[in-house]
């Protein structure tokens, strides 16, 4: 509280001083002759513009030195597609970087150089077809190059997933991620949103009549990471239950919206295991994160999932330890049915929860 007042007091004081100076300088200008003081201010501002350019360019450099260690370096992507994205960013950075320096230098340099001076006349120069042609054509050519690379990469990234790709479903809802693996048959069973019933162990709304879904494995993203296999393409089938979310995979440079009612997909090949990344970054806590990148409500900030990239053996071992959701749901149903049949009052939630907890392990 005191600091708040302190800050406000300083601001007010600073303002009062500035205001007094401002008023005084206006009087002085009137007394000394407005033209004369205008010319002086002109010089000061021209000089400041030049200073701004130099300090600004240094600032850009300094900012880069300070922050480059904290970003995802171009070329460090952990997926095949990510490397394409990085490549494209590099080309674009080079092209835009040159234009940036060139135009900013010209802008501020001209301002300084052509400030109003005694006996310097402005040059009447209303147009020049040649110049205008040049700066229509050159940007157009540069952009064509960028567009061409961009579109080629884009088609590669959004093209159909290879046949050997594994499929994983990821479903967003306020404010968590859930995953589904297709099981040995490599196909996901059907879902229908009206079948969603967490208490009946059907959190994704699988249609049990569909045989394909009987071996599907459900993973709650709040308890467990998504497991992927290194160097094996993965195709994510993306869904949302309530509002739009977005599967953001910064290290893989991938992203795709999760839209209720309209499934989307994306595929990529992770190229490093989590263990390798831990070694590479020297950060024992390193983990691939799934961020929700589309504003989805009050818990948007905390809608976090994680991914483990591992070898095929490790993955096989992990998936073998999982029970298909169908089995879990059916066992819950059987317990519920039998208690009901035995004439006992409907299962108390607590009892049901213990059953579920046991079934899961």
């Amino acid at each position: 509280m005191t600091t708040t007042f302190f800050i406000i007091a300083i601001l007010v004081l600073g303002f009062l001083i500035t205001f007094q100076i401002a008023k005084a300088s206006e009087y002085v200008a009137v007394i000394r002759g407005e033209e004369k003081s205008r010319k002086q201010t002109n010089k000061i501002n021209a000089f400041l513009l030049l200073v701004f350019l130099i300090v600004g360019m240094f600032g850009v450099y300094y900012c880069n030195v300070k922050l480059e260690g904290k970003i995802l370096k171009f070329g460090s992507a952990d997926s095949d597609h990510g490397l394409l994205v990085d490549q494209m960013m590099k080309y674009t950075l080079i092209a835009t970087g040159i234009v940036f320096v060139l135009t900013q230098v010209l802008l501020f340099w001209y301002c300084f150089k052509y400030q109003e001076k005694e006996n310097q006349k402005a040059y009447f120069f209303p147009h020049s077809n040649k110049l205008e042609l040049i700066w229509t054509a050159v940007p157009a050519i540069i952009l064509t190059v960028l567009v061409t690379f961009g579109i080629v990469y884009w088609y590669r990234i959004t093209g159909p997933a290879p046949k050997e790709a594994m499929t994983v479903e990821i479903v967003g809802s306020q404010f968590k991620w859930e995953y589904r693996y297709p099981g040995p048959d490599k196909e996901l069973g059907q879902k229908y949103y009206k079948k969603i019933d967490p208490s009946a162990m059907n959190p994704l709304g699988q249609v049990w009549e569909d045989q394909l879904g009987h071996d599907d494995i459900y993973i709650n993203g709040q308890d467990e990471p998504m497991h992927l296999v290194v160097n094996k393409p993965v195709k994510l089938v993306i869904n949302a239950k309530d509002v739009i979310h977005d599967v953001g995979l910064a290290h893989f440079r991938m992203k795709m919206d999760a839209v209720p009612g309209t499934p989307t997909t994306m595929w990529f090949t992770p190229t490093k295991t989590t263990a390798e990344k831990i070694k590479e970054t020297g950060n024992p806590d390193f983990v691939y994160e799934i961020s929700c990148d589309q504003m989805c409500g009050s818990g948007h900030t905390n809608m976090r999932g994680t991914i483990v990239v591992e070898t095929q053996e490790a993955f096989d071992q992990w998936i073998a330890s999982k029970k298909p959701q169908y089995k879990i749901a059916m066992e819950v149903k059987r317990v519920a049915d039998s208690t009901a049949a035995a004439g006992v009052a409907p299962v108390a939630p607590v009892a049901k929860d213990t059953v579920i907890a046991q079934l899961k392990h």
Partner: protein
């Protein structure tokens, strides 16, 4: 009424009869002069002052949520004092944070940089610069302000209702914005948001049609379209964009209302929320995004074009040189105007859009960078070999060019769908559009205010305060937004209010704190600007010459304090374009001066 008669005359081109005392002969009451005024100059001031009030509110919101971002662990008891349950324990709650962000965006994009900017300068400058006594329909013009005022009241009221204002982002994507169960801000606050926006759209349509017809029909004698100052051209294109795109937003909003209240399923399908499956099936959440961005992208140019026009004018006047490439400037604005309608899906590259369509939008999006580049090079050439006067307006115009370059170049990253996969919805986008649209257009607006303040109030603003305002703001703007690109390059999503639990996004503590401190300073300096503005209305140095900036355009041929009707005598006739600066050894030649025989041609 006699000024109505004049309007008819000027509609045909010029004003034939002479009567000296315009605007003085019917008794004006306070109400007709300041409130229900039909004088375009007064309406301009109404838009400006309402815009300034909104800018204050929108800016204050950003200070509040920057406090959260800069100091997520700290509590600010003063917040609880003011906001009670929304900031319990002095900490901003997520719902409150999102409400602040949403209203910040809505207010600044629509109420400040659309209504405040176009509303002010289209109203002020179109009649004055084309040589008309008023708008084509002063009544419609007045209504456009009052619809805006009504929109403002509704939006403002939504801040005070119990469930708070809309909080689904300024883009208000459904289903989040359609379902009260999804977010507290999607309850009554969202209804008020939609109503407010609908009123706002009506205001924009009334205004836009009026601007267009004034420019097309009411130019004074000799004012061919190709002699119009670029400000008027820019405002013309702005109005065309608005008239064609706002109805689409309205339709999007109406369908949203239907989904919210009538149980229709335009945007809703397969939704299981709050433990319950909704009946809606078959809608498309993405449809809304198409409707929104069909306005949304033109909207960013609606915001930018007036600034571009004023900057062109101010750069030319203060370099004492003609704007370089007048026709190229027109052509590029025209191209921007067309392309602005053909790029909307670049906001939707990762919504599951068909990849082929995506690639078409990449091509069209990067095409729009070409006219942007042309404009930049033309501005640079305008400065080249000039004789530059750094008035406060000129400095802001230069700042505008710098910011437009910086922000336009990052657009080239985002317009490339391959890169956008990575950068979409990260802080990089936030940095991009704040620089290119937010701050740049603000700079255009400041430039316009400093430049035309003498015309509006017959006084000058204080120069020293103006220079301090400029220097702190441009340094601050870069300090705030430049490093935010890096957060985006780290993959940090936008609209995250606390990164502490993330392994990969929590490395920017110090940076965030620095940005927040700079934000507070910059905000304080804007307060100083507001003070300077109001102080100078009453106490500023008086303007003593008709044409303080030695400009060629018609507004400086009116009296220092023009009455309703603008010119005391006949409306002057125009003989040349607006950019004869430093021609044939003369500092400037007003548009009203006939072309002499031995004048050089260009």
């Amino acid at each position: 009424m006699s000024h109505a008669a004049h309007i008819e005359h000027s509609a045909v081109g010029f004003d034939s009869h002479h009567d000296g005392d315009h605007g003085h002969h019917h008794k004006e009451t306070f109400l007709t002069k300041y409130v229900f005024s039909q004088d375009h100059k007064m309406i301009a001031k109404q838009f400006l002052i309402t815009g300034i009030i909104w800018a204050f509110i929108g800016g204050l919101f950003s200070v509040l949520f920057r406090l959260q971002l800069g100091f997520p662990d700290q509590s600010f008891p003063i917040l609880e004092t003011f906001f009670g349950q929304w900031a319990e324990g002095g900490k901003i709650k997520p719902d409150f944070y999102y409400a602040l962000v949403t209203m910040h965006g809505t207010v600044l994009v629509f109420f400040v940089l659309t209504a405040g900017l176009s509303g002010t300068f289209a109203n002020l400058l179109i009649p004055l610069q084309v040589g008309a006594r008023d708008m084509a329909s002063p009544l419609m013009n007045m209504l456009s302000y009052w619809f805006f005022f009504a929109a403002s009241i509704v939006m403002l009221a939504s801040l005070f209702i119990q469930t708070g204002p809309a909080s689904g982002g300024w883009t208000a994507y459904p289903p989040l914005s359609a379902l009260g169960q999804a977010s507290i801000g999607s309850k009554a606050g969202m209804d008020m948001w939609i109503i407010g926006m609908a009123l706002f759209i009506v205001s924009q349509l009334l205004a836009g049609l009026n601007y267009i017809s004034t420019i097309l029909n009411m130019r004074t004698k000799g004012m061919a379209m190709t002699r119009l100052p670029l400000t008027v051209w820019a405002l013309f294109f702005t109005a065309v964009l608005g008239v064609l795109s706002f109805p689409v937003l309205l339709s999007g909003a109406v369908l949203l209302i239907f989904d919210r209240t009538l149980g229709t399923s335009f945007y809703l399908s397969d939704i299981f929320i709050a433990g319950e499956a909704l009946p809606n099936e078959g809608g498309s959440a993405i449809l809304y995004q198409h409707l929104f961005w069909f306005l949304g992208h033109p909207e960013v140019y609606i915001i930018l074009l007036p600034a571009m026009g004023m900057v062109s004018e101010i750069l030319s006047i203060n370099s004492r040189k003609p704007i370089f490439g007048y026709m190229a400037m027109l052509g590029s604005m025209f191209a921007i105007c067309i392309l602005a309608f053909l790029v909307w899906a670049h906001h939707m590259f990762v919504t599951g859009l068909n990849p082929f369509l995506g690639s078409v939008f990449v091509l069209l999006t990067l095409l729009i960078a070409v006219p942007s580049a042309i404009k930049v090079f033309n501005w640079l050439t305008t400065l080249w070999r000039g004789s530059i006067r750094f008035t406060p307006a000129m400095l802001f115009a230069i700042g505008f060019v710098s910011l437009f370059i910086s922000g336009g170049l990052t657009g080239i990253f985002l317009g490339n769908s391959t890169i956008d996969i990575h950068l979409h919805d990260t802080m990089f986008v936030v940095a991009h559009f704040h620089i290119v649209m937010g701050v740049a257009s603000m700079f255009g607006m400041f430039a316009g205010i400093y430049h035309w303040f003498p015309k509006m109030y017959g006084r000058y603003m204080n120069n020293t305060l103006a220079y301090v305002h400029f220097w702190v703001t441009i340094v601050g703007a870069y300090l705030i937004f430049w490093p935010i690109h890096y957060q985006g390059l780290a993959g940090m999503p936008r609209r995250y209010l606390d990164k502490s639990q993330w392994v990969n996004f929590s490395q920017f503590h110090e940076l965030d704190a620095m940005i927040t401190i700079v934000t507070i300073i910059v905000f304080a300096v804007q307060l100083m600007f507001i003070f300077n503005f109001f102080y100078s209305i009453f106490k500023g140095r008086k303007v003593t010459t008709l044409n303080p900036w030695k400009a060629t355009t018609l507004e400086w041929t009116t009296p220092i304090n023009p009455g309703h009707g603008n010119w005391d005598g006949e409306i002057p006739e125009v003989h040349r374009w607006a950019y004869d600066y430093s021609k044939d050894g003369r500092d400037f030649i007003p548009q009203t001066e006939p072309v002499s025989e031995n004048e050089s041609t260009h």
